[in-house]
Amino acid sequence: MGLIALLVGLGCGILLAAVTLGLLGAVLEAHAVVDGAHAVARGAAGVLVIGALLGWGSGLPALETVSGTVGQEALEGPVLSLLLMAALAVPLRVEDSARAGWSSSLLYVPGWMLASTSLVLMVTPGRAPTSSDWVTPVRFSLAVCGGIGGRALGQALQAALSRRAALTWPGTMAYGLLTFICGTAGLVNLWQRGGLWVASDPVLRGGMSGAWLAWTADWLMPRRYARLGAAMTLVAALLLVLAAVKPV
């Protein structure tokens, strides 16, 4: 097993501990435990960021010597995107208003799920290799966007299942970034290939456009329907994550 699998496993474990501590703190009404949970989650985010950086960087010529140590052979396709998304989906700072209560544990659920899925894919033998070269600017940007979207997903989960409003910036940033990525990809395609999505693979074409429209709908959703808005954010973020990891 490579170094990255170990790091992701460690990150998953720490995140699970953070979720458990958060729930325990809420049940015991012990604020120190809740604060501890958030500190632990920051540690998990750090571990996952190191894993993601090693994963994406192991393909670079300068790091060829360490590719065997990090277990690069297990890092094909969606695993790389999942890793980066998991690292970015863990919130580093939780507002005081969102911190109290059991629901703050939900903020770490998307990060934990993404990290767990990448770990399962990494250790599963006989996975079908992806046909195309995964490390492209669009795939990387989508993964970054999906990671921030994952953070918005956690906040939407919290908003939907409790009576706490979500912070808007992760969603706004994910939507803004996705708009920029889709727009730039569309303009480049129009210039080089004469059409908006000509010769781009259908997964990226349908996934990115669908996710962008869903985020637009989420952005336009009147804010007085808080839970409906949270559900919309949830759907949009899920679509974005799926588009970022779907192989051709």
Partner: protein, 402 residues
């Protein structure tokens, strides 16, 4: 009677104008949200369900792939139209309705932009704004680049004109993008998998455009189209001469004119004939590599008897001597490597509106995300400061909690 007329008059005043109701419904955010969700659903499905190709050549291969993937559910998916989502009437209808609604929203936005210069009526209920005194609040608002229009103890605050101009730009951009797509659909065309070899020029869409591959491998094309190269593969230029060194005519298709030089793209097994020597040549590439070796089989015609079997050199070059079937005279066959490329050509009259539309749309959306706040009001009420409208989060942090 007078009483009845008064009641009718009063009812007429109270009942809203139906056109106004329809207008409000059409430009409402809810309507746009529903439409966008519908279109998003359709587009997302295309990422998971491969869509039916437009050309008949690819259809059979695509259908067998779908049957292998979806099994017995394939006919059901086909009946539901899930293999032709983006070309379906429903999807195009949704896009048309979206364009109509965007047009109405642009008209409304222009109207609001015109009205935005003046002070508007206060809308909503006043709520207390904690931790601020009126003068320092106005100072803070100006410091954050809000436009503050003060009238005695009340002030109207907005981001005019950006809070209106940027969403308007997003709408105009989306409209231009849809116009670009429509222009391509109606007047545009696309030619895919056009096979080209060095120094070859092909005519496209019955003379509507052309493409050529230069000696340097550079693609040249009609200025009205955009063309790009795809995958490459093996190919040869074939020539044949008789014992006296006179060139012999070669034909690729039965009805074609004989030619001294023949370009053959080896996309699979390829055949050509040398009618004057009664020979047929079969070429089979050993791989898809551009400079792959090829197996050459030469048959007598019409007997079908194999006269010679050879392999081209590494790189695809070769020269063979064989005997003609008719008179036993020597025929020299020469092959020069000439890899083929698959090219795609697109004529898109909607390219410029679409490009401008995308740029304006991105600018409008990203700008709107930065300048999100709409108009609100603040006032001094005795010791307290009150606000009404969509107050920014930094002004009343308790609004963060639902």
């Amino acid at each position: 009677m007078v009483h009845l007329a008064l009641i009718r008059g009063s009812m007429a005043e109270q009942s809203p104008d139906p056109w106004r109701v329809v207008w409000r419904f059409a430009i409402s955010d809810r309507m746009l949200v529903v439409l966008l969700v519908g279109i998003a659903l359709g587009l997302t499905l295309t990422a998971w369900i491969p869509q039916q190709p437009s050309s008949d050549v690819d259809y059979a291969r695509w259908l067998s792939q779908m049957q292998a993937r979806f099994g017995d559910a394939t006919p059901l998916l086909q009946t539901l139209g899930l293999f032709r989502i983006t070309s379906s009437l429903t999807f195009r209808g949704l896009l048309a309705v979206l364009a109509g609604i965007l047009l109405l929203r642009v008209a409304e936005g222009m109207d609001r932009l015109g009205r935005g210069r003046d002070s508007a009526k206060v809308e909503g209920d006043w709520e207390e704004v904690d931790d601020w005194d009126f003068a320092s609040l106005l100072e803070a608002l100006r410091g954050r680049h809000y436009r503050v229009q003060r009238a005695s103890s009340e002030a109207q605050v907005d981001r005019w004109p950006w809070s209106l101009v940027l969403p308007l730009a997003a709408h105009v951009g989306a409209l231009l993008l849809l116009l670009g797509l429509l222009l391509f659909q109606v007047f545009g065309w696309r030619a895919t998998d056009v096979i080209l070899q060095e120094r070859e020029r092909v005519s496209l869409q019955e003379g509507a455009g052309w493409m050529a591959l230069g000696e340097d491998g550079e693609l040249r094309h009609d200025p009205s189209i955009v063309a790009f190269l795809g995958e490459t593969g093996p190919g040869v230029v074939a020539e044949a001469v008789d014992a006296e060194g006179e060139p012999l005519g070669l034909v690729l298709k039965p009805d074609a004119e004989p030619s001294g030089t023949l370009r053959v793209a080896l996309t699979g097994d390829a055949y050509f004939a040398i009618p004057s020597a009664e020979l047929v040549v079969r070429l089979t590439p050993r791989s898809d590599e551009p400079y792959a070796r090829a197996d050459v089989q030469i048959y007598g015609s019409p007997t079908g008897e194999i006269i010679a079997e050879m392999v081209t050199d590494k790189g695809g070059h070769a020269a063979f001597d064989v005997s003609a079937v008719s008179d036993g005279a020597q025929v020299t066959l020469a092959f020069t490597t000439a890899p083929y490329v698959r090219a795609t050509a697109i004529h898109n009259p909607g390219r410029l509106p679409a490009a401008v539309g995308v740029a304006v749309l991105v600018l409008g959306v990203v700008g709107s995300l930065v300048w999100t706040e709409q108009r609100f009001w603040v006032r001094e009420s005795g010791e307290k400061v009150e606000g009404v409208g969509p107050l920014p989060a930094w002004l009343c942090p308790e609004k963060e909690e639902v």
